[in-house]
């Protein structure tokens, strides 16, 4: 994990035109950004695009980083914004996704029976692709990244009430999709 003060020094150098400093910032934070973006990407190519787009925006907006909070927090907000924009752009493409895979049974993970973790991810991805972008964003941050309502509110810039409502709606919709009574 990067030390925030060192990040601030690197940011100042990068603003001054030091490419090596910006490279070091990318090197330090690429893992966090890519792990977070991977919850939204459909394939490695899309993950690469999301990661690159995040750091391009960071580079473009570097001067707006005030330094009153750790660089990592600022970066997380940009990552979430980039992923949200990608979800909105992709929304139309995924409307006709096949849900046959959702018929797979699921078992208690503690017993070790049932589908693998990869299959669970695939099933969830398919079901979540049918959610509204904002619902998908909230449920991903909330359930898959294990973040609190407050953290999600800070990351998205939405109110805590809005986050709670979105999370509730997303869960209801997911239960309908996975249960197979989504009115299709």
């Amino acid at each position: 994990m990067a030390v925030p003060d060192e990040d601030a020094v690197l940011v100042r150098s990068a603003i001054g035109g030091d490419d090596e400093a910006f490279t070091e910032l990318v090197r330090r934070h690429k893992g966090t950004v890519l792990r977070s973006a991977s919850r939204f990407a459909r394939n490695p190519e899309e993950l690469e695009d999301l990661g690159q787009e995040t750091f391009l925006r960071v580079y473009r907006d570097l001067r707006s980083f005030r330094g009153d909070a750790p660089f990592g927090h600022w970066l997380s907000r940009i990552t979430v914004r980039v992923c949200y924009d990608a979800l909105r752009k992709r929304r139309r493409e995924e409307k006709d996704v096949s849900l046959e895979v959702l018929a797979a049974p699921v078992a208690d993970p503690s017993t070790g029976n049932g589908p693998s973790a990869q299959l669970a991810r695939m099933i969830l991805d398919q079901a979540m692709s049918r959610l509204k972008p904002e619902d998908r964003l909230v449920i991903t941050l909330f359930e898959l990244e294990d973040r609190s309502v407050r953290e999600v509110a800070v990351l998205t810039g939405w109110s805590e009430t809005r986050v709670k409502v979105r999370a509730f709606r997303a869960r209801q919709a997911l239960k309908r999709h996975i249960g197979g009574d989504d009115g299709r």
Binding site: D19, F22, T23, V26, R27, K30, G31, L34, R35, S38, R39, P44, L47, E48, G51, Q52, F55, L56, Y59, V106, A107, D108, P109, P115, S116, A117, Q118, A120, R121, I123, L124, E143, L144, D146, R171, L174, K175, I178, G179
Partner: protein, 102 residues
Amino acid sequence: MDDKRNDRRDAELDRYFALARQAPPDISGIERNFETRVMARIREIREPWYAWAWRLAPIFLALTILLAGWSLSYSPLHPADPVTMLASGTQEIALLDHLTGE
């Protein structure tokens, strides 16, 4: 009855989430040299000529090779320089050209 079904689905959904959390996506392939690719993109945006120069480099190289090959294979019948003509044993042609004023 509906409540029971709802509870069962809640538990089912929680199991899916728990399983999915256990399988963090593999990002190792993309992490490798990621910063190099980001910096290349930044350079492309900042200095568009830089990207074009690299894209056009093979064309310039091919042109250079073609020109070099052509100039090596080119041998004029009548060298224009009189000194060259004398040196290459075409004195008669040079003399004729000189006399006829060509």
